[in-house]
């Protein structure tokens, strides 16, 4: 008798949960649906009255996409974004793992202080450093170049990456490394043959975060890059905005959809790493 009541209660909770979750999901994805539907209607009809959530079928058009792909510098911007993101991700994965390995597995003077300092810089919002960094970019002559973005991005992701990967490496048993050392392997060999392959799950989840944050980075790129040919996608999108008296929302949203596609692909392919990365970070912290 009693168990029946509990079962009924559980069922009620789960039905209510489904309903509430559906509401949350609608709120979460509705703006995206609206983004896509707006990108598919003619540029002039964006403020039609009454506004419609979905365009009329006969009004559907790929005109905005055609314009973005053929008339704008889309492929140039796309390439710039890809180059900046991929180089940042690869280089930072490599050098952060190096830092994490040394900080996680070796004993030397000043280690705690160094790690503490690296962690402390995570508190300072990156944008506050934009003035001295801009001056540095001018001194190095990298304004308006992709090289004005990449080293800064790498420096920007190092603290978080090192912190995450270090947590992972500390859990790799010392025996594994010592065994290969006894076999005569040098520290460098241990790093390349043992540490790098073993920490690949941590590196993967950190890399996905780094890819996304580089792909969408706006304040710094907007400061350093002026040249149309060197713009990354976020800057190109915001460039459509306020360029004319009336914002060409159709173009803005078509470009936004094209920009989101790689992100969605990465997200779906590496969904597992997303969650594991966040989990290890949060449970540890």
């Amino acid at each position: 008798m009693k168990s029946k009541i509990i079962l009924k209660d559980e069922r009620k909770t789960s039905i209510v949960s489904y309903i509430l979750l559906t509401i949350f999901t609608i709120v979460a994805i509705m703006p995206m649906v609206y983004l896509i539907s707006t990108s598919l209607r003619p540029n002039g009809a964006l403020y039609e009255f009454p506004p419609r959530l979905f365009p009329k079928i006969e009004n559907l058009t790929l005109e905005n996409y055609r314009y973005i792909i053929s008339e704008s510098k889309f492929y140039v911007n796309f390439l710039n974004s890809i180059v900046a993101a991929v180089i940042t991700v690869c280089v930072s994965a490599f050098i952060s793992t190096g830092l994490a390995f040394v900080l996680g597995k070796f004993r030397f003077k000043g280690k705690k202080l160094l790690f503490g300092f690296i962690i402390m810089t995570m508190i300072i919002p990156g944008t506050t450093l934009i003035i001295p960094q801009f001056e540095l970019a001018i001194t190095l002559g990298t304004v308006n170049k992709l090289m004005g973005l990449i080293p800064f991005y790498i420096a920007w992701v190092i603290p978080f990456s090192t912190f995450m990967i270090k947590g992972f490496i500390e859990n790799i048993p010392d025996d594994l490394m010592e065994a290969s050392e006894i076999d005569g392997a040098s520290v460098l060999t241990v790093f390349f043959r043992v540490v790098l392959p073993l920490s690949s799950p941590a590196i993967a989840s950190v890399s996905i975060f780094n890819f996304l944050s580089t792909w969408e980075e706006y304040p710094w790129a907007n400061t350093v890059i002026n040249d149309n040919q060197k713009r990354t996608l976020p800057i190109a999108i915001s460039g459509f905005f306020g360029q004319h008296q009336f914002t060409q929302w159709g173009y803005v949203f078509a470009m936004s959809v094209l920009t989101l596609i790689p992100v969605i692909v990465v997200f779906i392919c590496f969904q597992k790493y997303f969650v594991s990365g966040l989990m290890s970070g949060s449970v540890k912290g």
Partner: protein
Amino acid sequence: MNIKSRSSRLQVALIMFPGLVVFVFFTVYPIAKLFIMSFFQWDFGSMLRQKFIGFENYTTVFSDRIFRTSFVNTLVYTIVTVPGQMALGLFVALLLMNIQRLKITFRVANYIPVITSWVIASLIFRYLFNTEGILNYFFTSILYVTNHNIRWLDSRWSGLWVAMLLGIWKGVGWNMVVFLAALQQVPKDLYEAASLDGCNGVQRFFHVTIPCIRGTILFALIMLTIGGFNVFTSIKMITNGNPAHQTDTLLTWMYHKAFSTGKFGYSSALSFVMAGTLAILAILQFKVMRSHDAKAGLS
């Protein structure tokens, strides 16, 4: 591991070297430079000859009316969005614990706002809240709440509300995943024991769930407070500080002063005030949570 020979010491240094160089050159050096700049008169007019002026930039910052406005705006943004997204994220995570099917679908769908870039999300919200936009149509012609289009983006608080709604909308998914991970670690028998003692659902939540996920709450609180103070792109895209800098936050005001008026010294001082505030907040949050733990005998 111990470093044994000279050659292995060299190799350890070699492995650490690239990361350290990039970090020192592109992060540590700018921090030092920022600190120095904040004590100099450093603007477009004095690019070549900077004058040491002590704390003058700092006093200018504190006596600046718009600095105070933007400080209040940033605080309000953080105070509203951080608990807002944490509560909603935790709520969604709890809902997900209640269901068996479609778990992954719901989780993925609710995570989509997190991976949408700030630029794109801000533009969508700006479009939704446009004076001629669909939300106003919804309020005037379907719900009949008002009879004229509301100019959301033309006044301080409504403009900030749009940015805050965006902040919450975009943050719920992250909190959901973080809290879901934490909830899965809570031992099941604790809940059973609480039930046997006659605790109802609400009591179980406050006496079992919350204490068990305290560490995660602290983690989220600190990360999100940093994120809240970092608010920049959404304000820039949605209101651009308008009207008359009433919706500026610390970073947009700092950026404006530096790159539109060339007051680099002033902006550097402002950046330091902001970093200092954040450091104090983070330490405070940490201390408060720790003392709570100590009281509850959990530490």
